[in-house]
């Protein structure tokens, strides 16, 4: 069924109420400390959606918050870290304590799984992961083997790995621009998002700036994702904070370090973080008011503008 041309603009609360359910497989946008879907992740935590399966290539801050809040059953990804800022500590702890199911892939393998989903195909071949424990130590899935190695039908000497398609129930992404139809414009790197979005049954996108559909139609070459894939648009400036948005603002090193120190210690300090910055806020704007004064906004904006 096609998605209507009508107004898809709504609040984060409404979007999560309507499109994210318990047990959902969620495709996670962004990579590392760039353009993570933090506002939508906060809202999911606030609403306490549980038994979630989080999928992506690199899963970082928004994944770690959901794992830390005890809402995640499984992750399927290539990495859980924030590069220089360290491992995703709540994720790491949950794995070490056996509280989290994991499926490890290479980044290309995950992107290939999304590619299969985006093309309506059941699987995709890759030549990555051959010979390694990413295959040998992979646990079987509920519906059979987690992968198959077949011979290239045109060259029996050549083994190829088949990976099952990954089709999230819903993807959450934060982009630079969107219109009320749900057309999305992503600027800068796009990592795995193009394939993941198109492989998803539903898509909730927050954006820095809402633009007019006339503008989209005037410059159609700039549209990254057409509206037919998108279900909800949330206008949320600073919606990736404390991660960066290309052309808008840099990551906030201070807040990332603050989160990482709480996440690394766990226990009460971490619970306090969740309480103060997520549960005690009714919206993401309330969180921003607490942590991001105008002076800091200007610094992060200027810092971005100085390197583009």
């Amino acid at each position: 069924m096609g998605k209507p041309l009508g107004d898809k603009v709504m609040t984060a609360r409404e979007a999560v109420e309507r499109f994210v359910s318990d047990g959902a497989m969620i495709g996670m946008g962004g990579q590392s400390i760039g353009r993570c879907s933090v506002a939508l992740a906060h809202e999911i935590v606030r609403q306490g959606r549980k038994d979630l399966i989080l999928v992506g290539c690199n899963l970082a801050l928004s994944m770690d918050v959901m794992v830390g809040a005890g809402l995640v059953k499984r992750t399927e990804c290539g990495t859980g870290n924030l590069e220089r800022f360290g491992t995703a500590f709540r994720w790491r702890k949950a794995i070490e304590e056996g509280r989290l199911e994991i499926e490890d892939y290479s980044h290309l393998a995950m992107a290939s799984r999304f590619l299969a989903g985006s093309l309506g195909l059941p699987f995709m071949p890759t030549k990555s992961m051959l010979g390694t424990d990413l295959l040998a130590k992979r646990r079987p899935r509920a519906n059979g083997n987690a992968f198959e190695i077949i011979e290239n039908p045109w060259d029996p000497e050549e083994p190829v790995v088949l990976m099952p398609a990954c089709t999230p129930d819903v993807s959450i992404v934060h982009v630079q621009k969107a219109d009320e139809m749900g057309n999305l414009i992503i600027e800068g790197f796009t990592t795995h998002e193009l394939e993941m979005i198109k492989a998803s049954r539903t898509v909730v996108a927050s954006c820095e700036k809402l633009i007019s559909s006339d503008d989209v139609r005037r410059y159609p070459d700039r549209t990254t994702i057409p509206y037919i894939f998108v279900d909800a648009v949330v206008e949320q400036p600073w919606g990736a904070y404390p991660t960066s948005v290309y052309k808008h603002y840099e990551h906030d090193e201070d807040h990332l370090r603050h989160y990482q120190s709480r996440a690394q210690s766990g226990g009460e300090p971490y619970d306090e973080y969740l309480q103060e910055f997520i549960y005690d806020c009714t919206t993401f704007d309330e969180f921003l008011t607490k942590v991001l004064p105008e002076t800091r906004k200007n610094e992060l904006r200027d810092s971005m503008l100085s390197v583009i």
Binding site: D133, T191, V307
Partner: protein, 260 residues
């Protein structure tokens, strides 16, 4: 330069960069590999094409990015692109000459573990995981691994093979079906450079860092590396190289500590 005038990290970065040739397509993450790539570009490989896994192709990188999502790795790129473009359309396609890896464990076959210490199903320590590393090790023609030389980091076998070296011997990759069956692999540490001996599929000490003895390498390696009858020595970084590294590549000291 005398040994007191540069750090072990600076030495590793300068040496690693020497394995990059002008015109190479180089896939780079962050950390010391990024520093080595940028150094090569500024020092001797101006036509090197810098490729980032998040998508950017051939940026004029602004010092000093700290992430593959950093705007500094997108500056003046010819295309921003996607992860599938970079790791699929360029790397798996067979267009990457040199790729960098790091890891918690590197074994005698140059396999790399960046996933777990202990049992995978009952981990002692969990690390971030493969990321693009497995893809790089599977498809690049030359693999450079930068790592501090510690005994526990160089076990006989990795607890978990995240990224393929020669797997279990000279024909290991061929048997597994990897497209690049016999890549060059160099492990650059603060004590030595080890390279894959293609006849035996295991690491061999080819060069010693200035002032380091072969015994020191043996004492700090958990396996017995091959030692050829003649082992070379790594040339210390020149004043010019250190100037480029410190003043142009990492002026803020984001990655490289200075000599105190």
């Amino acid at each position: 330069m005398n040994q007191e005038e540069y750090t072990g990290e600076e030495l590793m970065v300068v040496e690693a960069a020497r394995y990059i040739s002008d015109g190479d397509n180089v896939l780079v993450g962050t950390g010391l590999p990024m520093v080595a790539g940028l150094f090569a570009q500024k020092n001797h490989a101006p036509n090197m094409c810098y490729i980032v896994e998040t998508g950017p192709i051939a940026p004029d990188v602004i010092p000093t990015p700290i992430s593959v999502s950093d705007p500094r790795v997108m500056y003046r790129a010819v295309r921003h692109g996607s992860l599938l473009d970079a790791l699929g359309g360029v790397l798996q396609r067979g267009l990457v000459d040199v790729a960098f890896l790091g890891g918690a464990q590197i074994d005698r076959f140059a396999n790399v573990n960046s996933t777990v210490i202990g049992d995978y199903n009952n981990p002692k320590v969990r690390f971030p995981g493969s990321g693009g590393a497995n893809d790089l090790a599977s498809h690049a023609r030359k693999i450079l691994i930068i790592a501090p030389h510690e005994k526990r980091r160089f076990p006989d076998r990795c607890d978990y093979i995240t990224s393929p070296g020669y797997l279990d011997g000279p024909e290991g990759r061929k048997r597994a079906g990897l497209s690049v069956a016999y890549p060059d692999i160099f492990v650059i540490t603060d004590l030595a450079v080890m390279a894959i001996d293609k006849a035996q599929g295991v690491l061999s000490v080819v060069n010693l860092m200035p002032g380091v003895s072969i015994d020191q390498v043996g004492e700090n390696t958990g396996f017995e590396p091959l030692v050829p009858s003649e082992v070379g020595s790594v040339e210390a970084p020149s004043e010019r190289e250190l100037h480029i590294l410190r003043d142009e590549v990492d002026p803020g000291g984001a990655y490289l500590k200075r000599v105190v």
